[in-house]
């Protein structure tokens, strides 16, 4: 028969790792609901840590190199994070429309998060603009296949005069080739930037003007001043 009081009395033995496995688990369950025990345990742990430091003994010198070598090949566990808060402020169409919309949103925000972390200062402004485009009240989403494989999504917001292009599953090109993005309309095509199979956006296309389409062509490495071949992908910019 074990009463809560008996269980609590095991805090000393627990701090000394003097419980059997079964008792240890049972005590850990007890700890979860017992603030007093956790407070007491904290003090006892500092005490046993002092006892451990008092027993210090120089390890063999070669251990250091072995440990340093080992850790270089061991992935660290990520920190625990609080659940993400609900996002707010997306226009109804984005929340209610096709699954495709949420896919592109996830992609864009995913990349957004990674890029933000890596090159905060350089890319923050750009990312804010991307976020502003996809959350604009008049944002419109168009998806289509890419000739040769993959697909693309364009979110355009006329109110911002900008569009966001994100591609998925683009075939890898020969090393001397690149994908190039264009704004196309009545005027000559205007380059928006290049892409590779490994880096597929999101790309921000600014200054839509009177362009009516976004197109992608395959061009020599470094890009061309104007398209040299047929587009492998086009998406109409509505409105």
């Amino acid at each position: 028969m074990t009463t809560p009081h008996d269980t609590h009395a095991l805090v000393g033995a627990y701090a000394l790792d003097a419980l059997s496995d079964v008792e240890r688990r049972r005590f850990q369950d007890h700890l979860d609901g017992c603030d007093t025990c956790r407070n007491e345990l904290r003090g006892l742990r500092e005490t046993t840590a002092a006892m451990a430091f008092a027993a210090a003994q120089e390890p063999p010198a070669e251990l250091r190199d072995r440990v340093m070598e080992r850790i270089a090949g061991v992935r660290q566990v990520p920190p625990r994070v609080a659940p993400e808060p609900q996002r707010r402020g997306f226009p109804p169409w984005l929340l209610l429309t096709t699954a495709a919309a949420s896919v592109v949103l996830a992609l864009v925000l995913g990349v957004y998060a990674v890029v933000t972390q890596q090159r905060l200062d350089e890319t923050r402004a750009q990312n804010e603009r991307i976020a502003a485009v996809i959350t604009a009240p008049d944002a419109r989403l168009v998806q289509g296949p890419v000739t040769g494989g993959g697909s693309g999504t364009v979110v355009a917001a006329r109110s911002r005069d900008e569009a966001v292009v994100i591609m998925e599953g683009l075939p890898t090109l020969a090393s001397a080739k690149t994908y190039q993005l264009w704004l196309m309309g009545r005027q000559a095509p205007r380059s928006v930037g290049t892409m590779t199979a490994a880096d597929t956006g999101p790309v921000l296309a600014a200054g839509l003007g009177d362009a009516t389409e976004v197109g992608i062509t395959v061009e020599p490495e470094g890009g061309s001043p104007r398209p040299t071949g047929e587009p492998v992908f086009t998406a109409g910019l509505s409105g």
């Binding site: 790792d17 059997s20 407070n39 840590a49 003994q57």
Partner: protein, 208 residues
């Protein structure tokens, strides 16, 4: 009720001069163990090298006490240090000092190692045959302690408190085994472990 919200970590007290102690002084000061562990969590190998300087001795010494066999102790020590690297992001300063976090990990690993390498029958046998040895074991531990303060505080305990704590912590026995060795009831042993540790805590924390 009368429990202080956080017990003062022993090494934050003044008047400690020995190198292993000075090395862990003030967990969260710049270059302190707690701060280094936070850097380690971000993948900083240079910070880990400094953590190694501070904790490899205490980890190895503690593991050696429990495991005894030098080769196995080295293995366990390496495992513990790699775990510190791997789990650095899980260190939570609000739950205690970095020193306590590391040593808890180390001691548990050591104990798990000796217990998994012995069948229950062996352990019973060991408890029976070690009957006469415990005084010697406890004495050896106490006289070889490098840290004056800890030794002095251990000296301030009753015999039963000191033997219970030493046999559990430095030899890795369960409280039931300790009861068997000391020929007292298990209830007595678990009570002595608790009140003995509390006395140790107060002795280490209050004394300046």
């Amino acid at each position: 009720m009368s429990e202080p919200p956080t017990a003062r970590p022993w090494f934050r007290s003044r008047g400690i001069a020995q190198p292993p102690v000075a090395a862990v002084d003030e967990d969260h000061r710049a270059g302190g163990l707690g701060e280094l562990i936070e850097l380690v969590a971000r993948g900083d190998q240079a910070a880990f090298a400094r953590v190694y300087e501070q904790i490899s001795g205490p980890v190895y010494g503690t593991v050696m006490r429990v495991v005894r066999d030098p080769a196995q102790s080295e293995e366990v020590t390496q495992d513990v240090l790699v775990e510190v690297w791997r789990q650095a992001s899980r260190f939570d300063p609000s739950r205690g000092s970095a020193a306590a976090w590391v040593m808890t990990l180390a001691h548990r690993r050591a104990v798990d190692r000796v217990r998994s390498s012995q069948s229950a029958a062996d352990r019973e046998q060991r408890a029976a045959t070690r009957d006469r040895e415990h005084d010697h074991v406890a004495e050896e531990v106490e006289t070889r302690l490098e840290h004056e303060r800890v030794r002095r505080c251990l000296d301030g305990l009753t015999d039963l408190q000191r033997q219970s704590i030493s046999l559990a912590f430095y030899s890795g026995y369960t409280y039931r085994e300790v009861a068997e060795l000391l020929k007292v009831s298990v209830n007595t042993v678990k009570t002595r472990m608790r009140d003995g540790l509390i006395r140790m805590r107060d002795c280490l924390g209050v004394e300046r």
